[in-house]
Amino acid sequence: MENAFTINQLNLKYGEKKALDQITMDIPKNQITALIGPSGCGKSTLLRTLNRMNDLIDNVRIDGDIRYEEQDIFAKEYDVINLRTKVGMVFQKPNPFPMSIFDNIAYGPRCQGIKDRKVLQEIVERSLINAALYDEVKDRLKESAKELSGGQQQRLCIARAIAMEPDVILMDEPTSALDPIATAKIEDLILELKKKYTIVIVTHNMQQAARISDNTAFLLMGELIEYDKTDIIFSNPKETKTEEYITGRFG
């Protein structure tokens, strides 16, 4: 099986505070990998390291390496913009730009210099269809994205991410701000997307991890405690800490 990411001995510090400690793991292609753990365990940090969004924070020090498609993403000559076009991201809170639905999705391609209205139209439609949102919004593409419901906004953000034709989509607790019905829709969508994309998802919701992911990694205090097939983690974890967490004894 091919890997999308190979993470090796990754350490990350915010100033003096250690956030990730000696993480080593592989993230396989075209599968869903879930990162779970209590708040502050470093799972979001790990996710954001994968497309180098942590660059935006001051005082971050990273050592160890992450290879994406065999290339070291921390290498000096490595093009971070290129990385981010390949590795898309969906955030915890739906965050559409204050523009129309169309402009939101066309934003990424436009930044890459696509100006042809027809091409853009096609990209927007395809992305919306792939994000299972097209039928709901096809008549109001010119309206503000802010007027959509929370679940729709999140699917719009997913559509915006897949408009870039990424290989990987990182999802940072994408359903934590949504109601159960909207959550179910997003989960269906994620399972659908798995066919084309590698997905890494951070989630607080263990049922969600169990339902949708192929692999699950359990992090605690910046350390990777256990990483295995999802059914193994949830049915027969090797570590007691994992078991305690999964059975709800702490966290």
């Binding site: 001051d58 913009i81 981010r84 076009t85 991201m89 204050p98 990424g108 930044c111």
Partner: protein
Amino acid sequence: MKSRKRFITDKIYQSLITLISLIGLVILIAVFVFVFNKGSSLLSWDLLTGDYYSTVYDGYYDSELTTNLFVAPDDLDSDTYFSTRWGIALKDDLDREGHDYILIVYVDTESPLANLPDKNNEGEMVYMASGQSLDKIIFSDNTIMLSSKGAEAAISQFESATGIKDIMFTTAGKGIRGSLITTMYLIILTLIVALPIGILTAIYLHEFAPKNNKLVNILRRMVEMLTGVPSIIFGLLGAAVFIPIVSTVTGTEGGNLISGSLTLAVIILPVIISSTEETLKTIPDEYRQASLALGATKSQTTFKVILKSSAPGILSAVLLSIGRIIGESAALIYAIGTSIKDEIIVTERSTSLAVHIWSVMSGETPNFELASAISIIILLVVFVMNLSVKMIVKKISY
């Protein structure tokens, strides 16, 4: 017992504070009452659109006067005098700067004065009409009518006159159109200069500048220092730097619209920078992250997402700046000068509404009416600008 005393002192203090805080309201209303009281009678469309300098008309009348007697219109006031021979009604009045003059109240359409041959351009005509001012007449017997002798004397001279060698009358003048246009030019030119510089500076300081960098901190401090500089000092800057620069480039002399706008641009720069930066602060980081995660570069993120979202803040900066520009006087007295003009050329002298007030107030007899009329305009603009900014700020909620 003690608690009762405390209760009373409490009440006294409370009413004292309430009373004192009314002072602000009282002053605001007093300013309004005063300005409207003095100026509203003068405020009219004519004032806004009229020339400051009067046009002088110079005519004569050497034909036979018909013996027909004109009939005075019914609606003349008691202090208006009518000439039945010439069909004209006159009245003593004060002009917009408070000087005596003879106002032409009515000219009969059949009156010979309504249609006079132009004294200086053969074949052309000059037309006397109501609203003009009558200055001087030399009748055919070389008697002279002077406006300083008043309307009643003028009419009695008219009644005995048979012809006119020279009659001079003028349009009302003292209008503020020129200063109004100058002010608009100033607003536009100033914003054209200051907006890009201010917005870009704010963007650099908030989005791009490395944090905790000494040089950046110094730059920031220098920009902030501009806020504490009094406007008259900016005027000196205009006089010492901008006027010479513009003069060298355009070959003109003295203050002009460009030097004025450049000076104003420096004055409003801190307003624009701080207002833009304030909005940039309110824009959630999620926008920046979402855009970067989509592979946009930092400049794409800034100009396509951030700048768009900060439009309301920039709009309030623009509105506040307009208020500031229209009310600025001390700096402009130096940077553009006090000469009132009708024809506005950007490289020449002219003056803004606020400085127009300064001009009419610093003469030998201050003219409260005109000053108040202009003040009404300025106050209205400033207040509308400030209140809209308040509304915009209320509306921004991310």
